[in-house]
């Protein structure tokens, strides 16, 4: 019997660096050229199967990047096991924002959080403003994982999520992993799916 794990992952980064696109590529293997800016926070799930047949289910919170919603972000990265902080390689300002997010996570998030720094839009290397060396050096200094990705082409997307899965503490599953498909934040020990099927009348109204 293969092992199953479940982790909460949060995506952070400046507006328009491609957070939602990266998730869409990872979860559905799709890409939209024109995506509306996320005003809110979306919840998605995707499962990664490792070589030893261990499965890791990511419960992903894709958050709004706009500055005005920054105060809400802590509510979403609270209890997160891992964070993907995104910047756009064609804009050095977005790396600055990424540094701010990382500082905030190191200060306020769970101390054991696994942080990955991702340079997105690697397909636009011609307009590159952030060099690989610069970002990589920063990541090494801070002890972060680092990769460049392209949500458009799919380059590096699955790789970074798989790498995160491998880096997570797969020996001691977090308590939520036992609850099967339960949602993050569902109060501990409450299996929401079970509860649903136990609802009287629920069965009959599915008809």
């Amino acid at each position: 019997m293969s092992k199953q794990f479940q982790f909460k992952l949060v995506l952070l980064g400046e507006s328009a660096v491609g957070k939602s696109s990266l998730v869409l590529r990872f979860v559905k293997d799709q890409f939209d050229d024109y995506r509306e800016s996320t005003i809110g926070a979306a919840f998605l799930t995707q499962t990664v199967t490792l070589e030893d047949q261990t499965t890791v289910k990511f419960e992903i919170w894709d958050t709004a990047g706009q500055e005005r919603y920054k105060s809400l972000a802590p509510m979403y990265y609270r209890n997160a096991n891992c964070a993907v902080v995104l910047y756009d390689i064609t804009s050095s300002a977005t790396l600055e924002k990424a540094r701010n997010w990382i500082r905030e996570l190191q200060r306020q998030a769970d101390p054991s959080i696994v942080i990955a720094l991702c340079g997105n839009k690697s397909d636009l290397a011609a307009r590159r403003q952030v060099s690989e060396e610069e970002a990589k050096k920063y990541a090494e200094e801070e002890g972060l994982m680092w990769a460049e990705t392209s949500a458009k082409t799919g380059d590096g997307v699955n790789e970074i999520f798989t790498a995160i899965a491998k880096k997570l503490p797969l020996t001691a599953p977090p308590p939520s992993a036992r609850a099967g498909a339960s949602r993050p934040g569902g109060r501990t020990g409450v299996d929401l799916n079970k509860q649903t099927t136990a609802q009287p009348g629920q069965e009959a109204c599915n008809c």
């Binding site: 509510m75 979403y76 649903t196 008809c207």
Partner: protein
């Protein structure tokens, strides 16, 4: 067969079930013999073979179209079933109820086919004008003889699709072979077809929606308040929430779609603690019936000699109370001409046509009118039972307007201390005294006790519906004889909370009953079901997006019922036992249970469930599924599982004000104006409701009558007759709680001081219940369809990544400038752009916050949207004094982010910004005196040393009013004009000069200035006389002592106090009636200047302190 239909049917199926074959067929309706009109037997294959003409006619009527599908369920092993369902015209969604028959493919299922003779057909075609290419018709007959199967009558259909029918038969054969293969396990065959149950047991989810009303404590909580705890990034129990939102949506929509109008029921409720006495006075006044003896003269209440005379001491309040209610009915005295009967046992003939009810009816005629007419009034005409074309968008409309003297339909009386003997406590079920009181009740109603038995002679009278006694507590319900048939499922309950928490000296008895308005049938005489129901013509105001039924009026076949519950209770006594009373209430709400398990016999719902004219091929209902079906034995329900619950009795709540104060306020002329309003503030029951310690679900009308306890016939009484040893109190009360489907209107609530039977006075209250009438079968059908319409809503959680898609069109809202009084409203459009229904709710940012700040109101806080449906989220600013007090000292820029959580989906943010315009209202005295100028001009606060003596705003108001040419006669007397007040406030905040010149002839502006001053003082975060100083203030007995108290005030407060009281003194002195004006001013200003939020300081003392300064 269109692709649309195929996919429509697929949509009807549960995931995992697939359609193998779909055959287009039609049914042959049962015809009538053309010559005799007698119904012909249902079409069978043999008959059809010879009657091709009938087949052809049937094939042309779209209503006969049927689809036959072979559906396969594959869960390990393959199982098949033949579905027969009604076809819809293109584009219409299929409903669950369109599935007419379901035949599991196994055992004795047999499908036979036969060709209908073409020659006969061709003959008939030749005579007609039909196209040459005549179609070949085939008949197919499905039979299933298995005794345990769900459908037994053979079904015969016809089709032209020869090839498809062949495929269908082949597929059935294959499935049958699979099913008939030697069983692998020993399980009985039927259990393996359990996947079919959702299609056949389609009524299963409905009973909770229409048979037992939702608990009133839940029904009265706004929808979002019933949802799970959740906040940003932390969804709660979404799966549970979606069921709550869905059920509420369906319940409201289904009833709405099935609505046919409205009905009314008038109820008179009485409560009386009789202190162990027997009835010795005519009860008609309390019961709202015509009195046995007339009142002798107008204005002065003198009871007839046959009754024990009123306490003379009470005459005064009796008169003043009585004059008030009598004013509209002064003409009544002319009607009372029957001779005075000296013997109470002799029942005098009913006098005149005006009922005593008009005494307690409100002055407004329509509020007391009842549509439930008596037998003498016009019976419900056939037209009124069928919704006419008149458009009535309001929820109720009245066709018949009865006079205000109409007798109540239902009388419910609660007695306490009926029997104070020890025996009664030990033998709790003695009913000896009930008989005596029943006799007195019947006498007061003008009928003899035995009239019940004399059928036919009791027209217009009452019969006892039920009663329940526990020791001294008795509850009796009487109903108009002609309405008796409308009430059923009458249940009783009792619980003791007295000695040891169990004995019946305290506790409650309760009645629960079902009221069903009758269906007025045009063909039937109205003698059995009299004209109780006045159905207004109402168009169903459905707003369903797909609303198949929204445009057609609903025919009433079996009306839905209303559950009425009445609790009569006697709670713990004594002033200080308020906690015990609250506990008794909580205990009774738990322990008063009605047994429902034996009610099934009375209901006859099931046969009507399918009365849709399709009886020939409708699925027979599952017995346990119908709403009217019997509940299992042992099913109980509480007092809140009701559409409306009345709670009456001697609740024993007292008045938490000093004894002397209570008596002074009740008796003194100085308190004549507003005496009851003042005392109500200190009422323990009102306080318990405010603090949600007891009766939080209930509401009570205004107490406009004197306390009903405790009266003493002996010497130890005050001038009003109240016992000197007991603080007077409103112990005897009537409260109610109802859901949104039942609108309760209280038309009277009063005590009856004329009675001297007991140390309590009886209390009565009249109610009119307005209930929507809806057709139960239609509502159940609608609910069924609505459930299907919401398909996917609760499944969405299984796949977080799909489908749920809500769009918020405005991601930010700027409310602009918002102020203390000016309410600003903006809307945000929310649209469901997904393919399945979805629901949203507002969630707070974290566990400590509210979903929105206190200065903003958002509606609706939770809602369900069908695909493409739009909801307007309305944001309204509400800034009260408390809120202003806080905002005045804060940053003017207000902003917040609303989080709209899509159930099973993402969170949407709506950023809200506003600019707060500060005001002097809600600003503390110390801050007002340190403002460098008018509050709007801003600037740094002055240092404390440089603070001004008194707020310039207060001084400006007083100075304007003190100018010589202002008329002060109407100030503090008349109602102020809100627009003028707004202008004055604006000038105070901006420093602009008042645009009003004092005018000797003008009253409106001074009145508005006076009101503005009062409101400004009342908006001070701290009362002008600080709460901690008030206890000392009330101890001062002379004017000099009162002035000495001022030394303890803050300097600014002293200045304001002196300015305001000097001004008020001037106003009182210069009045034409100085004493009256002084009392009016004191009444208004004492509760403001000496505001007592904790309700701990003597109201009489506070007023006297102010009077020391302002009395001329």
């Amino acid at each position: 067969m269109s692709a649309v239909e195929t996919s429509a049917f697929r949509a009807l199926l549960r995931p995992g079930d697939t359609v193998k074959v779909l055959l287009d067929a039609f049914a042959i309706p049962p015809g009538t013999d053309p010559t005799t009109g007698a119904p012909l037997p249902p079409a069978d294959a043999v008959a059809l073979l010879a009657d091709a003409e009938r087949v052809r006619r049937a094939s042309e009527d779209a209503r006969n179209r049927r689809l036959v599908a072979v559906v396969v369920h594959n869960e390990g092993s393959e199982e098949g079933s033949v579905f027969v369902f009604r076809a819809r015209s293109t584009g219409k969604q299929l409903e669950q109820s369109d599935i007419l028959r379901v035949f599991p493919v196994f055992g004795n299922l047999n499908i036979s086919m036969a060709q209908i003779r073409r020659t006969t057909l061709m003959d008939s075609l030749r005579s007609g004008s039909l196209p040459q290419a005549a179609p070949g018709f085939l008949s197919l007959t499905i039979t299933q003889d298995d005794a345990a199967s769900i459908s037994q009558t053979p079904l015969t259909l016809c089709t032209q699709q020869v090839e498809t029918l062949r495929v269908l038969l082949t597929e059935c054969k294959r499935l049958k072979e699979l099913a008939d293969a030697p069983p692998i396990s020993t399980a009985p065959v039927l259990t393996t077809f359990s996947w079919l149950s959702p299609y056949t047991a389609r009524r299963a989810p409905l009973p909770p929606l229409f048979s037992i009303p939702e608990d009133l404590r839940i029904a009265r909580t706004p929808l979002h308040g019933r949802l799970s705890a959740a906040f940003a990034g932390q969804p709660g129990d979404d799966a549970g929430d979606v069921v709550r939102i869905r059920d509420e949506w369906i319940r409201v929509k289904a009833r709405d779609e099935a609505g046919t109008g409205a009905t009314r029921l008038s109820i008179r409720i009485g409560t009386f603690n009789v202190n162990g006495n027997l009835p010795s006075q005519d009860l008609s006044l309390w019961l709202g019936a015509q009195p046995l003896q007339p009142y002798q003269s107008q204005g002065i209440v003198t009871m007839a000699p046959a009754l024990p005379p009123l306490l003379t001491d009470l005459g005064k309040i009796a008169r003043s109370d009585f004059e008030e209610v009598m004013t509209p009915a002064t003409a009544m005295t002319d009607n009372f001409q029957s001779p005075v009967s000296p013997d109470p046992s002799v029942i005098s003939p009913l006098a005149g046509s005006t009922s005593i009810l008009s005494l307690v009816s409100p002055t407004s005629p329509e509020s007391s009118s009842s549509t439930v007419s008596s037998a003498s009034a016009t019976a419900t005409s056939p037209q009124s039972s069928v919704p006419s074309s008149a458009t009535s968008t309001s929820s109720t409309a009245t066709l018949t307007t009865a006079s205000s003297s109409e007798k109540p339909d239902l009388i419910v009386l609660g007695f306490q201390e009926l029997d104070l003997s020890t025996e009664a406590l030990l033998y709790a079920n003695s009913t000896a005294r009930e008989e005596a009181w029943m006799e007195a009740i019947y006498a007061a109603l003008g009928q003899s006790k035995d009239s019940e038995k004399e059928k036919g002679k009791n027209k217009g009278g009452y019969v006892k519906l039920a009663s329940k006694q526990l020791v001294g507590m008795l509850i009796i319900a009487l109903v108009k004889t002609e309405l008796r048939a409308c009430f059923d499922q009458v249940q009783t309950a009792a619980a003791g909370t007295g000695i040891m928490g169990l004995m019946g000296n305290k506790g409650g008895t309760a009645l629960r009953m079902r009221f069903t308005p009758p269906v007025a049938s045009p063909s039937r005489s109205s003698s059995r079901n009299p004209s109780i129901l006045s159905i207004s013509s109402a168009q169903t105001t459905s707003t369903t997006a797909t609303g198949a039924q929204s445009s057609k009026s609903v025919k009433l076949r079996k009306p839905g019922s209303t559950i009425l519950t009445f609790v009569n209770s006697h709670l713990a006594a004594f002033d200080e036992m308020v906690d015990r009373r609250n506990a008794d209430y909580a205990e009774l709400t738990k322990r008063l249970r009605f047994e429902l398990g034996t009610l099934g016999g009375e209901s006859a719902g099931s046969e009507l469930l399918f009365g849709d004219g399709e009886g020939a091929d409708a699925v027979p209902p599952t017995p346990t599924a119908s709403a009217g079906a019997p509940m299992p034995a042992g099913t109980t329900c509480g007092v809140f599982e009701s559409d409306v619950t009345f709670w009456l009795g001697d609740l024993n709540y007292r008045i938490d004000a000093p004894d002397g104060d209570v008596r002074t306020i009740l008796a003194s002329d100085e308190w004549e104006d507003g005496r009851l309003e003042t005392l109500v503030i200190y009422d323990q029951l009102k306080a318990a409701i405010r603090a949600n310690k007891a009766f939080g679900t209930f509401q009570e009308g205004t107490l406009a009558h004197h306390p009903t306890y405790r009266f003493n016939a002996g010497l130890l009484k005050d001038e009003l007759g109240y016992d000197l040893k007991r603080r007077p109190a409103w112990t005897d009360r009537v409260l109610w709680a109802s859901n949104n489907f039942t609108r309760v209107q209280q038309t009277s609530y009063t005590g009856h001081p004329q009675y001297s039977i007991s140390d309590h006075k009886p209390v009565s209250s009249d109610f009119t219940l307005n209930m929507d009438v809806f057709d139960l079968p239609t509502a159940e059908k609608s609910a069924d369809r609505l459930y299907r319409q919401l398909r996917g809503l609760e499944d969405a959680h299984e796949d977080h990544n799909a489908h749920v898609s809500l769009k918020v069109l405005e991601s930010s809202v700027d409310l602009g400038k918002i102020g203390h009084t000016k309410s600003v409203t903006k809307q945000v459009t929310v649209k469901n752009i997904g393919r399945i229904p979805c629901a949203y709710r507002l969630v707070p940012i974290d566990g400590e916050s509210a979903p929105h700040p206190d200065w903003l109101k958002v509606e609706p806080m939770a809602a369900l949207l069908l695909p493409d449906e739009i909801v307007q989220l309305t944001l309204t600013t509400t800034i009260d004094n408390n809120c202003a007090a806080r905002l005045n000292t804060q940053n003017k820029e207000l902003n917040c982010t609303l989080i709209l959580h899509t159930i099973m989906g993402k969170d949407h943010f709506v950023a809200v910004t506003a600019e707060y315009v500060p005001t002097c209202f809600g600003t503390s005295l110390s801050r007002l005196t340190r403002l460098p100028g008018p509050i709007r001009t801003g600037g740094d606060l002055l240092s404390e040393e440089r603070a001004i003596n008194a707020p310039r705003e207060i001084m400006r108001l007083i100075n304007w009013m003190m100018s010589s040419s202002v008329r002060m006669d109407k100030v503090f007397v008349e109602r102020a004009d809100e627009d003028i007040i707004d202008t004055i406030r604006e000038c105070l905040d901006t420093g602009v000069d008042f645009p009003f010149t004092p005018d000797e002839k003008e009253d409106k502006v001074p009145v508005a200035f006076g009101e503005t001053l009062l409101r400004l003082l009342n908006s001070l975060p701290e009362p002008l006389v600080r709460a901690d100083l008030q206890p000392q203030c009330v101890l001062q007995t002379s004017r000099d002592e009162a002035f000495e108290m001022l030394d303890a005030f803050e300097p600014a407060a002293v200045n304001v106090w002196i300015s305001v009281t000097a001004f008020l003194h001037f106003v009182c002195q210069s009045s034409a009636e100085p004493e009256a004006k002084t009392l009016a001013v004191a009444r208004l200003f004492a509760p403001v200047l000496l505001r007592d939020d904790a309700r701990e300081v003597s109201p009489v003392g506070r007023r006297n302190f102010l009077l020391a300064f302002i009395r001329p």
